[in-house]
């Protein structure tokens, strides 16, 4: 039982990172029906940006006291901003002109963008894994026989808080309404006076910023990064978005946590090498019985 709870925490922490990445996939798909394959690499770019910021600040190890809050805030907000801008630039350069092209064209462009980002990162930091400074003190809390690391609490909390902020933004703010209107019907939204180019750019900004936050968190959580990390993580996060119901913000979060849990439990009770098999088997089963994912697409049918 103790072990089960321990693996629950491992799974939720891993799932928190998937969830943060999945939010970006789901937002972009929700608004322009594009599977943005470059998104996983934007996430890796987030770790690289945070690492660059930490290097600029001269942080190489654990920071304590009030400086910790400043350092974490600067690194995480900086990574979010830079990743957000990268997302906007990618949309402007690679996707905007293809918005009315056949669906296959932007999809291939997205795969191309992914390769470009991977190679740029390889060029920037080299092709080897890079150590990432620990930054936050990492005391473990013992709850009965279960130990919880501070890092794990950080990952889970951040994922949930950012998801709630995003949900509130999309549901209640004017810009959020514009996003939902654009998702429903671009032409009608434009007729109502919504600038759809800005709205779509904003979607990329927010989605990529969340990937930036995930990048910082995973850097601290794993203590290392690698230019190719985004490939595997992106694939799992995309799966999470589909599992929860693509286009659905709460669904992406649920999917992310579920996949993290499935991986941890498979490792514990079946074997580590089967974790991918089980994750994708669950996906297939869910899609057979609920083709629109667990929570369903929250947006009305399109096209």
């Amino acid at each position: 039982m103790t072990l089960f709870v321990q693996q629950l925490i491992n799974g939720l922490s891993l799932g928190g990172i998937y969830a943060l990445i999945a939010l970006g996939y789901t937002m972009v798909y929700g608004i322009i029906e594009l599977i943005n394959f470059a998104h996983g690499d934007v996430y890796t770019l987030g770790t690289f940006f945070s690492l660059a910021i930490l290097t600029l600040l001269g942080v190489t190890g654990i920071v304590s006291g009030p400086m910790l809050i400043v350092v974490v805030a600067v690194a995480i907000l900086g990574a979010m901003l830079l990743c957000g801008l990268t997302g906007v630039i990618i949309e402007r350069l690679a996707y905007r002109r293809l918005r009315n092209a056949p669906k296959l064209a932007p999809l291939i462009t997205a795969i191309g963008m992914s390769f470009i980002l991977e190679n740029l990162m390889q060029y920037w930091k080299g092709p080897s894994p890079i150590p990432f400074p620990q930054v936050i003190p990492n005391p473990s809390f013992a709850v009965g026989a279960v130990t919880v690391e501070a890092k794990q609490i950080m990952v889970i909390l951040l994922a949930v808080v950012l998801m709630m902020v995003l949900q509130t933004f999309v549901r209640y703010s004017r810009l959020g309404k514009a996003m939902r209107a654009t998702a429903q019907d671009k032409d009608a939204a434009q007729l109502m006076g919504i600038d759809i180019n800005t709205t779509i750019a904003l979607t990329f900004l927010i989605g990529s910023a969340l990937a930036g936050a995930a990048g910082f968190v995973s850097g601290v959580y794993y203590g290392s990064t690698w230019f190719f990390n985004g490939f595997a993580a992106g694939l799992k996060a995309f799966t999470a978005a589909v599992l929860g119901g693509i286009g659905n913000i709460a669904g992406a979060m649920l999917g992310g946590f579920l996949i993290g849990l499935i991986e941890a439990m498979t490792t514990q009770f079946i074997g580590d090498q089967w974790s991918n098999v089980v994750v994708f088997s669950v996906l297939v089963l869910v899609l057979i019985f609920r083709p629109s994912g667990l929570l369903g697409e929250s947006l009305p049918n399109k096209v």
């Binding site: 321990q6 491992n10 470009i116």
Partner: protein, 420 residues
């Protein structure tokens, strides 16, 4: 469609970046004999070198490649084949996306085979790459010597026979290092006897080398009376090992064994062990985690790790003094764990090529002649001692070094001589 000059410029830059990255990661052919005088007669003989020299494997691949480069440069300086030929290298990289890749290795070997001036090759570094290359060199009759492959199935038993597809009775594959059945046994003895460990949790990367070594270790450790708590396989590109290590910790292991390379997870597993509270438990592995990259990835948590290298520690051998001095003078860096092996492999091939040239009356020899002389190698004086090959292509003088990471640096604590 209308393109603004800016987006055109950006697209062009992006394309250029991709092209540049592609050329970087696929292959680099260079002429290593640049510093030595080309022979007057002008005909060139090449040694093909296939190793992972980019990405996570680069920290061990490049010093290995340097060993061959040094041997070739020295040969030219010392009047290779009486100055009738110029010796050169063809250096190819088998790493794709930062990691050794069997398909890339096979492609490189095809390049060597197509180049008639390549008479021998050194490589590959990784056993799974060797599996895809041996059928090709066997078919073409091109001799290859690996400085570091340790998987048993490359030279021994039915697995090895299956690799010799075109000419089952001819062997073109040799290695100057020992096999995993010996490395795994030695590691099990270190764990059970030297470190006195009773219960071990085994993790491997499911690759030819990693799983092979872990299986041997598993069986040998049980035979020595130890308990194997679990034997798990990880998947490619995995980053999160916390669930796996939590499972391991629940069994209270005395030690964790990793079969695999740093590039396939060996460093990350060690790093995350301390996150789940296994930081003070000894970590054991084979030569796959003996690269400097391991200490970079694992950081301070690397201490307390033990690994073997399927080569004698060159810095401790009197026979290697001259080689080490020459290497440091030429490359301004320290030798890697497999530099001396690669140097020796190249030396054996160079000697065989010279004999073959004499046989051919000073003309270009055939690959078959070179192969014949490499196969007949016996008591060859080299930095790693006297080297020879048995009928399978294995070395007749297997030696292992045992390393422990102390203060963030691997230190040789023993040299183990094995029965051949």
């Amino acid at each position: 469609m209308r393109f603004s000059p800016i987006s055109r410029a950006v697209a062009a830059t992006a394309l250029a970046a991709v092209l540049a990255a592609c050329t970087n990661s696929t292959s680099t052919t260079s002429t290593a004999g640049g510093s030595s005088e080309p022979a007057a007669a002008g005909q060139t003989i090449k040694i093909g070198v296939d190793l992972p020299v980019s990405g996570a494997d680069a920290s061990i691949g490049i010093p290995t490649q340097n060993g061959v480069v040094l041997a070739v440069e020295e040969a030219n300086k010392n009047g290779f084949a009486g100055g009738k030929f110029k010796l050169d290298t063809s250096l190819l990289d088998d790493a794709v996306q930062g990691k050794h890749d069997p398909a890339a290795g096979a492609q490189n070997v095809k390049t060597f085979i197509a180049d008639s001036s390549v008479l021998a090759m050194v490589g590959p570094f990784n056993s799974n790459v060797a599996k895809s290359e041996i059928p090709l060199t066997n078919d073409a009759g091109l001799v290859q010597i690996s400085p570091s492959n340790t998987n048993d199935g490359l030279t021994i038993g039915d697995d090895a026979k299956k690799l010799r597809t075109a000419h089952p009775d001819t062997n073109t594959y040799f290695r100057v290092c020992t096999r995993d059945s010996k490395q795994g046994l030695a590691l099990a003895q270190v764990a059970a006897q030297r470190l006195g460990l009773k219960k071990i949790f085994i993790i491997d990367d499911n690759e030819t080398y990693g799983k092979g070594l872990a299986d041997v270790f598993d069986a040998s450790f049980r035979q020595l009376g130890g308990t194997v708590l679990g034997h798990e396989h990880i998947t490619a590109n995995q980053q999160d090992f916390k669930a796996l290590l939590t499972k391991a910790k629940a069994d209270n292991p005395d030690g964790v064994f990793f079969g695999g390379n740093t590039s396939t997870g060996g460093g990350l597993v060690r790093r995350q062990m301390s996150d789940v509270g296994l930081g003070s438990v000894p970590y054991l592995g084979g030569d796959g985690i003996s690269d400097p990259e391991f200490e970079t990835v694992a950081g301070a948590t690397a201490n307390g790790s033990y690994m073997t290298v399927a080569a004698p520690d060159a810095s401790k051998l009197p026979s290697a003094k001259q080689f080490i001095a020459a290497y440091q003078a030429r490359f301004k860096s320290n030798v890697g764990p497999y530099s001396a092996n690669a140097y020796t492999a190249a030396k054996i091939e160079i000697a065989a090529i010279e004999k073959a040239i004499t046989d051919a009356g000073g003309k270009m020899p055939t690959r078959a002649d070179v192969l014949k002389y490499v196969a007949a190698t016996k008591d060859f004086d080299s930095p790693i001692g006297k080297v020879g090959f048995d009928a399978n292509g294995d070395t007749t003088s297997p030696v292992l070094s045992l390393l422990e990471v102390k203060g963030g640096k691997p230190i040789t604590i023993d040299v183990i001589t094995l029965k051949s």
